[in-house]
């Protein structure tokens, strides 16, 4: 029997039982939809993280307090890093071009009647080139201002928009947590990166931040900018040696700080998102499996119900192979069509997530191809047994079946 004829026969019997066919498909639709949406979410998270890491600038090492337990998960905030540590790094570790000490917090900024809550980073002028920031208007901090805890602030373009609207910000006085600061510059826009917006923040001298605004005695991090072509492995060893000596850590104890470089962060991000994707994909695959079992169930019912039809077909000359193909193709049509509808559902779900939540989703064409072929395989796998049962029916018994 021609292949096209078998497909026509299959379609006809599926349309004849439209509701049942749809219910059989539903499992696959939901399964494939879930797989597509979940993978899109995983892929989106991955790209977001990668983008964020790559925007941070090259040649960057970040020293943070606390032990590194596992791939950047900290044992809690520890107070170990000081300004002197930061200064010592520049003078004593070869390959270090410049460092930027940093502390952070959340503040309320007020200008005339307007209020805006944002992140503040206390740091030095070196932080800007290290983190790939530039000043669009005005100027950055002077050494003098950092040394003297001057009340000067750099604002991100989004922050400026919210506080000043169309007015000129540079030179104005704003209240940061009730303290007067002079706006000395506006940052150049970097674009929203999803998890936090680098265009919405304030930068002040770290000395001012620690003593006057946030009341901190220790640094939250030291950003280290390596010389071009410097050997980061040797630098990490050098920084580790120096900080252990300065912190008087006895031989055999763990570091009370951790150093990460960009490659590490990319690796960590990759590992995290890979795990995330596998986990989501795995959960979704289970629903696909359940959908397959649903198809098998329906196909078994169909075969039993159509025993007499199978008997008739055999009497007029259908071979086992023809019957097998007929039912197998029927199962594959159900799962394949379910897969196609599932892809539509998954894509729509991903787009809705993208539209209405902060998550980014990326639909990889490879995932669609994979989902479609996987659902067809589900049809073959779960359709095989019912189809084989149909094919193996004894013609006399099948004809007698009431």
């Amino acid at each position: 029997m021609a292949f096209w004829t078998i497909i026509k026969v299959g379609l006809k019997s599926l349309i004849g039982n439209a509701l049942r066919s749809f219910l059989a498909m539903l499992g696959i639709i939901i399964g494939v939809g879930a797989v597509i949406a979940m993978l899109a979410l995983g892929q989106g998270a991955r790209e977001q993280v990668m983008q964020r890491v790559s925007v941070m600038g090259t040649n960057l090492l970040i020293v943070r307090p606390g032990q590194s337990i596992f791939h950047g998960v900290f044992s809690g905030i520890q107070q170990t890093l000081t300004e002197d540590d930061a200064l010592a790094l520049v003078t004593e570790v070869p390959g270090v071009r410049q460092v930027a000490p940093a502390v952070g917090g959340s503040v309320q900024i007020k200008y005339l009647g307007r209020n805006w809550r944002t992140r503040v980073t206390g740091t030095t002028a070196t932080y800007l080139p290290i983190r790939d920031f530039a000043v669009a208007e005005g100027r950055t901090f002077t050494e003098n201002e950092v040394e003297n805890s001057a009340r000067v602030v750099l604002l991100g373009p989004v922050t400026v928009d919210n506080l000043f609207g169309a007015d000129d910000a540079v030179g104005q006085i704003v209240k940061v947590n009730g303290i007067n600061f002079t706006v000395i510059g506006v940052l150049k826009s970097k674009g929203d990166q999803g998890w936090f917006n680098p265009d919405d923040q304030a930068m002040i001298p770290y000395t001012t931040a620690m003593s006057q605004l946030l009341g901190l005695d220790y640094l939250a991090e030291i950003d280290v900018h390596a010389e071009d072509g410097a050997d980061t492995t040797r630098m990490i060893a050098g920084i580790t040696r120096l900080l252990r000596k300065r912190h008087r850590l006895p031989e055999g104890t763990a570091d009370d700080f951790n150093i990460r470089n960009q490659a590490d962060m990319i690796e960590t991000a990759n590992q995290f998102t890979r795990t995330f994707t596998i986990l989501l994909g795995g959960i979704a695959s289970i629903s696909l499996l359940v959908g397959g079992i649903g198809i098998m169930n329906i196909m078994l019912v169909t075969v039993t119900e159509r025993t007499r039809e199978i008997g008739i077909r055999k009497a007029i000359g259908a071979k086992e192979r023809s019957i097998l193909m007929q039912f197998l193709i029927e199962a594959v049509i159900v799962s394949g069509l379910g897969g196609a509808l599932g892809i539509v559902l998954g894509v729509v779900a991903a787009l809705l997530v993208e539209r209405f939540t902060e998550f980014t989703t990326v639909i990889a064409p490879a995932n669609i191809v994979m989902a479609l072929s996987f659902s067809a395989m589900v049809g073959i796998f779960f359709g095989w047994y019912p189809a084989l049962r149909a094919a193996r029916l004894d013609p006399v018994d099948a004809l007698r079946y009431e």
Partner: protein, 221 residues
């Protein structure tokens, strides 16, 4: 055309063993019209299933057109059913979702025939249903359904027609019409075997064999 010797078929029902066929020797010449009669349980249906290659005997030989078919593979048997036999059943056994034309087309599709639709239409015309081709079986009367079934049996131009109680579900006038149609087909050279328990149907065949307890216990012509 058909020659069987010592055909035996046993069934196991629960613990009991039933000898449905207990040594059947039968010869049917090409072009014959034969009735197989007997009460229910006499083994006439089983005999027909084996003659029609729907089933294989447990013992004995079955030579069809010079070929021993009693030990052939299921695939070969399917081909033989397709090319050499046309089946007509008591309950018509049409596929309800298909039109008359599509039902008749079916054996041609399994045979891989070209222009199956044209051939099916031709055969439907010869059984007098040219104007009912697009109807589904449920839109047809019993007699018309049986004509569709006969057309389907004839589609692949088989040498032998096997009819199992073909008039059992029809009123007597329609039954007579169907038997007349078989007569015409037999006159055209086709071998026709009719299984029936109705004497007046059997009487329309040129030869009758009577079965009892899995054996042939009488022949009349």
């Amino acid at each position: 055309m058909i020659r069987t010797t010592g055909l035996v078929k046993t069934y196991h029902l629960g613990g009991a063993t039933i000898r449905a066929l207990d040594g059947v020797d039968l010869t049917v010449e090409a072009g014959e019209m034969l009735a197989i009669t007997g009460s229910s349980g006499s083994g006439k249906s089983t005999l027909m299933h084996i003659l029609g290659c729907l089933d294989r005997p447990d013992a004995g030989a079955y030579v069809l057109a010079g070929e021993d078919v009693s030990r052939l593979s299921k695939n070969r048997l399917a081909e033989i059913r397709n090319r050499r036999f046309g089946f007509v059943f008591q309950t018509f056994n049409l596929l309800p979702r298909l039109s008359a034309l599509e039902n008749v087309e079916l054996p041609l599709l399994y045979a891989g025939a070209r222009r199956a639709k044209n051939r099916a239409a031709e055969v439907l015309e010869t059984v007098g249903l040219a104007d009912r081709m697009r109807h589904s079986p449920s839109q047809l009367s019993g007699g018309q359904r049986q004509r569709v079934a006969i057309a389907r049996a004839l589609a692949c131009d088989p040498a032998i027609l096997l009819a199992d109680e073909p008039t059992g579900n029809l009123d007597s006038r329609t039954g007579d019409e169907i038997m007349a149609l078989f007569g015409v087909l037999n006159d055209a050279g086709r071998t026709v075997l009719v299984v029936t328990h109705e004497p007046h149907i059997a009487a329309r065949c040129r030869r009758q064999i009577h079965m009892r307890d899995g054996r042939i216990d009488g022949t009349a012509s």
